[in-house]
Subunit: 647 residues, 2 copies
């Protein structure tokens, strides 16, 4: 047996057929990673080389392979059409011309001979299947493609390939026995079981139901979740995870340079940002305001299928959610994987995080630093909270494991109940507050009037430790995230080598600071809309503008208003097939997954006292949905699995 | 310090004032346990003796004590009135004569001197408070009692007593700072927190909500639970718990003597019983029917305040519930106790059971004995199941910890999906069933037509291991429970010493076998209705007839119909104050608690293979409610706590 390393993270449409062919024959091989990635596939030399390996192992696939080499020589053009059509579909577009070319290819020699399968036929099969799942009417327009699929699927030598391929994006049709179809069957037969199991793991959410008579009823059921975890290489995960503490150092240092931040924000008129800047101004001058601060951070990345590495979507510093639910979905998936799906994933093990542990540990450590018996932790929340299981668990855990009591209050309630003594001691209903933990206040909606801003300021200027402090909140504004990319900025905080580590994961971000460059940015958005996202300064999701909507939106804004936004490169991620359960219904669809690393740090004005990376959150969304919020029904909570250690 | 043992389990209305007085002064003392329990309290000799002990320790209580001795000598009669009135109240009745006597006592010398407090004044205070909570209008009729309470509560020397008394039934008034008031305040301020915590611990239930427009909506929220556990002596708990395995042996042996059971049931016409007898008849003759059987048992007892020991309410052999939720409420209570209530219960620790562990272990062991890879466990359920968290958890646990898959089906579904091979192998939708676990089928309603009886019989006559087998179900019928009390019956199964152990916990049960004795039994029910309960043969609760309803009900039945019932002594239990949360509302009320020990056994036709006692369930209900079902809204799930080991 010949062992050559697989480069796993490569873009699926050339690595997958190889990986599948070879791995089902236990051959490890190497794909050379050129800049033009497809050059490898159509390079005759390399194919011949790998052909020799295959030849010595499996006759079925050998036949297949020889044919492929032939077809490439005979019809090099068709491969270009397939790749172009596929590329367009992944971008949500249809290239009718390429599809026509493929159609005529299919009606030609291919369908006359079942053994005449090439690596491009595998690709074509995927293309057709992806089409069939994404766009049923379109799919039905191309009769030849349907015929192709049925022919392909009933080809005996293909069956093993179709069934065994569990690891990567896999096409499927209801008529064929393959792993994805099996999982789909199991998931749809056990929908209520899995949903009930989700609730048992506290993967639950409160939903509002609008009744016919106009009444509104809140009910509780499972959170949208994915049945089976995403495969990842441990190495790939660790690559980004290992930078978490460095990121926290950077965020801490940025948060301690208020003058720097103020300078950067100086042209921004957004009243939400202004509100925090005003509070920070006072907090940083105040004598009594607590200098110890806690950051609870979620650093979100996507794996770029083009750049073959993690690219940062954003980091979140305020009211991060799903620390608890993420871990619970991981447990849930592990249970399902080890029982209902045990025949498919025996070689893989769930990657179990400890995201909730760091939330609780962080709050406990902050509480201990405050060091006052019988003081309490204040959790500031919204009036109605769908995600209450996720929010309540840290409270429960603090009570259960440490005897610490949390007080859960809205800003409205705090207006009445808060008393601040001259020395900054904060009391709520007479109980001293050691730590303030925000699970609201991240959106302008949360500040409907001046009274709310006043209480927000009042509690910031106390001796209680804030998670997060207003300074950390400012660091979360997109403008600062963008500024880090500018020459010389990050270098104020980290050394050169550290800066390089951080910058590795940067996607390109533009801001509108320089008004002379606005036209250039508008042109980008106009000419290449699919490759950009426009984001406002604040966190929280669901506020972004995508694709074709960006240009008209930007055009209407005044140059000064544009400064409240950043324009960001859209990260092209590797898709995979997901089994998503929402509201007790199953959807099987190509999807992409965003990874968030959850961590905390606590620092005083001298140094970082605690700094720990915890678990992770994966949110998976349909490939063509722009937004990805779980609350808003787009994403499902997901988990990761890795290959078991083989020693 | 003088240490004399406390006999803790004694009836509260003479032990409590002593225990409180003495234990708040760290004096241990002994109450001699006579048959007429109150003789101890009014025995001058003993009081004088303990007085000497007190004298040397605490002056405040000394004064109190001397006065008490005086009053006993001066007015021995009033003590009798108090005890009589109290007794009547505990029985749900009012003795107006005694109350009048007390009124004139109160308007006499007592109210003239604040120091003139006696041990009977403590009792009287309790009486008044119990009255005030149980029967507000009556309470307000007796102005002197109100005056007495207010005088009592504002007496400075009493305050310590009122606040410190955490252990036993404790009176309280909103105007006084005492432990019960503090707990009530904390519970009402944190209602939603505790309810959300309950849901986090999976102490959840599905409820049906009738909407105005006639629609029905199912929603999920916490199960009714008690905020703080009941104090018990470990010794007292163990006393009954230690007999669990012996009880299982007995049940197993009874289940294996079908001819004996048939003979006993021979005069009973109840079609529900007849249904099972018919199935058992066939099962016991069949060659293929599985001989290995599993019993999952809950043995329910109340602690008699009169007999100072556990008396058995019933044992349950079919579809016992709350194995999981019981344990979760215990965790919940421990969390609340160690955080929100930590100032009150530091000396006590929750008694943590492992009730769910035995359910899962039992099913796993049964599954292993069946010994067939990829076979499944069938869970037979009702169509709508409010208690689904409790039912689903064993399924989840089996999947998570053992990779075993459960199939959850109704009888209706099984009619279509079941196939039984000639050798008795049972298949549901093609999957082989190793174990059948019933969570339905315990009530005539579950068998609406002959088809259901047929499928019930069909699956009984298979090779699958049943939990429980029809033979074990028959043993659960009340008639057999009653028969065990008859001379010579239990002796067929156990040796003399074992029989004695079991009989210790028997409450008196009468059956209607001998028609010449019916009149005698009817007279009992007519003349002393408060002391009896009439129970039908089947398990499941909510079908009993109480007090004054018994006689007219029995009178209408034919002598032969009466044979489907047993008449049982009502167990007078020790009341305590409970903080019950139902539907996010708090009720504080005197209540009694029923203890159920959960266990399982597996046997073949030779011997018992597994026999293990697990955790416990406590259901607490208002003192004057007859029924105690959790599902039906009467009971709350509760837990126990014990004094921490002091070494």
């Amino acid at each position: 047996m010949i062992n050559i390393n697989i480069s796993f993270g490569l873009y699926r449409y050339f690595s997958e057929p190889y990986v599948t062919l070879f791995s089902s024959n236990n051959v490890h091989f190497e794909l050379v990673d050129h800049q033009d990635e497809l050059s490898v596939v159509i390079n005759h030399q390399k194919l011949t080389k790998t052909k020799e390996i295959i030849n010595s192992i499996n006759k079925n696939f050998d036949t297949l392979f020889i044919n492929k080499v032939n077809i490439i020589n005979q019809k090099p053009d068709i491969s270009e059409y397939i790749i172009t059509a596929y590329d367009h579909i992944l971008d949500g577009q249809i290239d009718e011309d390429s599809i026509q070319q493929i159609n005529s290819y299919l009606s030609g020699q291919f369908l006359k001979s079942s053994s005449f399968l090439t690596v491009y036929d595998f690709l074509l099969y995927e293309l057709a299947q992806t089409l069939s799942h994404l766009n049923r009417p379109l799919y039905e327009k191309f009769k030849n493609i349907i015929e192709f699929i049925s022919k392909f699927e009933t080809t005996e030598s293909i069956q093993k390939w179709i069934f065994d391929q569990t690891l990567i994006l896999k096409p499927f049709s209801k008529h064929v026995k393959n792993v994805y179809n099996e999982i789909e069957k199991i998931a749809s037969k056990n929908l209520n079981t899995f949903a009930d199991f989700a609730n048992l793991e506290n993967c639950s959410y409160h939903y509002k139901l609008q009744l016919k008579n106009g009444e509104e009823k809140v009910y509780t059921d499972h959170i949208p979740f994915s049945v089976s975890p995403i495969l990842i290489q441990k190495k790939e995960f660790d690559e980004f995870y290992s930078k978490t503490q460095l990121w926290n150092e950077l965020i801490d240092k940025m948060s301690k340079n208020f003058e720097w931040a103020k300078e950067i924000f100086k042209n921004m008129s957004d009243p939400f940002l202004q509100g925090f800047l005003k509070i920070a101004e006072k907090a940083n001058k105040s004598e009594v305001t607590q200098k110890i601060q806690m950051g609870l951070i979620r650093n979100d990345v996507l794996h770029s299928a083009v750049k073959h590495k993690w690219l940062q979507v954003e980091y979140n510093t305020l009211s991060i959610s799903f620390g608890y639910i993420a871990e619970q979905v991981q447990s849930l998936q592990r249970t399902i994987k080890n029982s209902y799906l045990k025949n498919f994933f025996e070689e893989y093990t769930g990657l179990q995080g400890s995201s909730i542990a760091v939330v609780v540990e962080g709050l406990k450590n902050a509480y201990d630093l405050y060091n006052k018996p019988n003081s309490q932790i204040l959790v500031v929340v919204s009036d109605f909270e769908g995600n209450s299981y996720d929010q309540r668990y840290p409270e429960y855990s603090l009570a259960r494991d440490h005897g610490i009591i949390c007080k859960r209050r809205t800003f409205e309630q705090l207006i009445e109940q808060t008393e601040v003594k001259e020395d900054g001691t904060m009391l709520v209903e007479g109980d001293e507050i050691a730590v303030i933990y925000y699970r609201t206040g991240y959106s302008p909606d949360h500040f409907p009037n001046e009274e709310i801003w006043k209480i927000r300021e009042k509690i910031e200027l106390t001796k209680a430790i804030k998670c997060p402090s207003v300074n950390i909140i400012l660091v979360g504004f997109k403008k600062l995230q963008k500024t880090l990319q500018e020459a010389g900025q990050m270098e104020q905080f980290l050394n050169k080598q550290q800066c390089e580590q951080i910058k590795e994961n940067f996607a390109t971000i533009y801001d509108f600071e320089d008004e002379t460059k606005h036209q250039e940015l508008l042109n980008l958005a106009k000419n290449d809309p699919q490759h950009y996202i426009l984001k406002p300064q604040r966190e929280g999701g669901d506020n972004n503008i995508y694709g074709k909507n960006i240009y008209p939106f930007l055009e209407k804004l005044t140059p000064s208003e544009r400064k409240n936004y950043i324009l960001m490169e859209k990260i092209i991620a590797k898709p995979s097939i997901s089994f998503m359960i929402r509201d007790r219904k199953l959807e099987v669809a190509p999807s992409i997954s965003e990874l968030g690393i959850i961590s905390y740090f606590i620092s005083d004005n001298q140094k970082i006292i605690h700094n720990r990376a915890g678990g992770y959150l994966v949110r998976t969304k349909r490939y063509f949905d722009d937004e990805g919020g779980v609350n808003s029904g787009y994403s499902v909570i997901d988990g990761l699995m890795i290959k078991k250690q083989q020693d």
